[in-house]
């Protein structure tokens, strides 16, 4: 029995418990921060979603049960914003992931200027989205660079951000441009972790470029790929800044995304109860989406090994 206790202790890294008090001191910043600025708002947000609340008229606040949720379900703008957000996510995540993957594979070879590529592709992803949106707003304008390019290739100039048919796609293209570098880095890290022997073995087995890719690279990169897709999805569901700076949800609500709709209802109309309900609905959608992704993308994991 004694030896069991000793074994248990030494297996775990932490030393025997110190005084609870000093532990508390060490943890206190996080406890305070977590409690006040995260847990409380999280719970309060749920409470708010069952209320009608306008901060300018706190006297009119009242419980409305599930009314807000019912209203969201009946609200065409809610569905429009959800649809646009889903289009955005499903349009950008696969494209960004594919570009990042192939770029990482390409850079991973013994090319000259490797670190230049790595750094250069990465830069757009750390610059503020506000800056990127401002720049592209001008590039997409009628006399801007994109139209000039289109003309060079014989196409017709158009109002990219002013036409409901092209506005969202234009923003999606910009998003792909500005974020693939980030995921390239992640893929590169994953690629570098693949032991060289595996590649050598594959070459010996007669696998060419695609063979190696399929039997060595992809399976080894599965966890990273999943990670990339998951964080890209979470991030894409929250698209806001680009909309705020470039189109404000227009034209004709074609770029109205869920978070922007939430913001608009909360901070322009000051319908904070309703906005909270919308927020939770969005959260539920994200969780479902992620759950499906994890489930679907994990299938076939055994086959790769």
């Amino acid at each position: 029995m004694r030896s069991a206790v000793v074994t248990n202790r030494s297996r775990a890294n932490p030393r025997p418990a110190r005084s609870g008090r000093s532990t508390l001191i060490f943890l206190s910043p996080w406890l305070v921060s977590f409690g006040v600025f995260w847990l409380f708002p999280l719970v309060f947000s749920l409470v708010l979603s069952f209320m009608q609340f306008n901060p300018l008229r706190p006297d009119l606040a009242r419980f409305v049960g599930l009314d807000n949720f019912a209203r969201a379900v009946r609200d065409p703008l809610f569905w429009t914003s959800l649809k646009n957000t889903l289009v955005f996510v499903c349009g950008t995540v696969p494209v960004t992931t594919l570009i990042a993957f192939f770029l990482a594979v390409a850079i991973n070879r013994k090319l000259p200027f490797r670190s230049l590529y790595r750094a250069g592709f990465f830069v757009p992803s750390i610059v503020s989205v506000v800056v990127i949106s401002i720049v592209f707003k001008q590039l997409y304008s009628p006399a801007g660079l994109v139209n000039k390019l289109v003309e060079v290739f014989g196409g017709n100039p158009r109002s990219w951000l002013g036409d409901p048919g092209t506005a969202l796609v234009s923003i999606m293209a910009m998003d792909v441009w500005s974020s693939f570098g980030y995921y390239t880095i992640l893929f590169l890290a994953g690629l570098q972790a693949i032991p060289a022997e595996l590649y050598e073995a594959a070459v010996l087995d007669g696998g060419g470029f695609w063979g190696t890719l399929r039997f060595v690279t992809l399976p080894m990169l599965r966890p990273i790929t999943l990670f990339v897709i998951v964080i890209n999805t979470i991030r894409s569901f929250q698209v806001f800044i680009e909309i705020f700076v470039m189109t404000r949800g227009g034209p004709l609500n074609s770029t109205l995304t869920s978070v922007f709709y939430l913001y608009d209802r909360a901070f322009y109309r000051f319908e904070m109860g309703y906005a909270s309900a919308v927020g939770y609905l969005l959260f539920a959608v994200i969780m479902c989406f992620l759950f499906l992704q994890m489930k679907y993308l994990r299938v076939g994991r055994g086959a790769g090994e």
Binding site: N13, R15, R18, S19, T23, I25, F26, L27, P29, W30, S33, F34, F37, F40, P41, L42, F44, S45, L48, P55, A106, L111, L116, G120, F121, P124, I126, V127, S128, V130, V131, S133, I134, V135, K137, Q138, L145, K148, W177, G181, Y182, I185, L186, I224, Q238, F240, I241, F244, V245, R248, L262, Y263, A266, F267, M272, A275, S276, L282, F283, I286
Partner: protein
């Protein structure tokens, strides 16, 4: 084989140039004269590059205030995180206590739940405390970031505990051990924490947008976004100059600390 490499290099180079081009355009436009975008929409490099727009932008209006606010806020958030995240990370790594599991779940969940859920109550809380439009509002909620805590706790876990044990045997107190032994050992992780926190804080937009009312307290991204809109004309020379000023610190930090940034990103993927 060589030919393939050459083709690949050319393609990559072309892709690189087109990726960086919009940013290059931004800088080039900022060096043009005022109102130049009107006179000639696209110009690859200004005939007479000048810093006039930068001078204008800093001199007139609230721009220098925006810049100052961003600097102050980022400094406090970075320092706060370095201090507090390391404290908490150390506590998690080295201590056994009831509810530790719960805590870890808490930390992870903070990373999963999108910010939009908490933004309204956070706004109302800050508003109730009469702290809207103050440095307090812009820094306090962000002093302890869950990801940083996670990073530090991972790092501390990997440190051998002998030094701390020895110090404890010598009679040092907990705080002393933390500040004099653990913290210095954590320098690499702290560097990653500091740099990545700076990147996030400098570019932060949503919360500064809702937590500030007037130009006195706005940070740079918010100020730029608001300036770029509106019925009245926008001067693109000024706007690109301001945008460049916003982007420059990030790019400089990146060039200097590339390794740390990448380390910070890839560390998270380890889980």
């Amino acid at each position: 084989m060589r030919a393939r490499m050459i083709i690949l290099s050319v393609v990559l180079l072309a892709l690189l140039v087109s990726t960086l081009f919009p940013l290059y355009w931004m800088v080039a436009t900022s060096l043009r004269g005022e109102g130049a975008v009107i006179k000639k929409a696209v110009e690859l490099w200004p005939k007479q590059p000048s810093l006039g727009n930068y001078v204008d932008v800093f001199r007139s209006g609230p721009f220098s205030r925006y810049f100052l606010n961003s600097v102050v806020v980022s400094a406090f958030v970075v320092l706060g995180n370095i201090l507090f995240a390391s404290m908490v990370g150390y506590g998690i790594a080295r201590r056994e206590f009831r509810g530790k599991r719960l805590l870890t779940v808490g930390v992870v969940s903070m990373l999963m739940v999108p910010r939009q859920i908490t933004m309204i109550p956070l706004y109302l809380l800050i508003s109730k405390l009469r702290m809207i439009d103050s440095y307090f509002a812009l820094t306090l909620p962000f002093l302890v970031d869950a990801f940083n805590v996670f990073l530090i706790s991972q790092y501390v876990t990997s440190l051998p505990a002998e030094l701390e044990d020895a110090a404890r045997v010598d009679g040092a107190g907990d705080m002393g051990i933390f500040f004099r032994i653990v913290l210095p050992l954590c320098k690499p992780a702290l560097a990653v924490v500091g740099i990545n926190t700076f990147l996030v804080s400098w570019n932060s937009f949503l919360y500064p947008l809702i937590l500030t009312n007037t130009e006195r307290m706005r940070t740079l991204p918010v100020g730029l976004a608001l300036y770029s809109q509106g019925e009245h004309s926008v001067d693109w020379g000024h706007l690109t100059a301001g945008s460049t000023v916003c982007a420059l610190p990030i790019i400089v930090v990146f060039i200097l600390f590339q390794r740390h940034i990448i380390e910070g990103i890839t560390a998270g993927s380890g889980k």
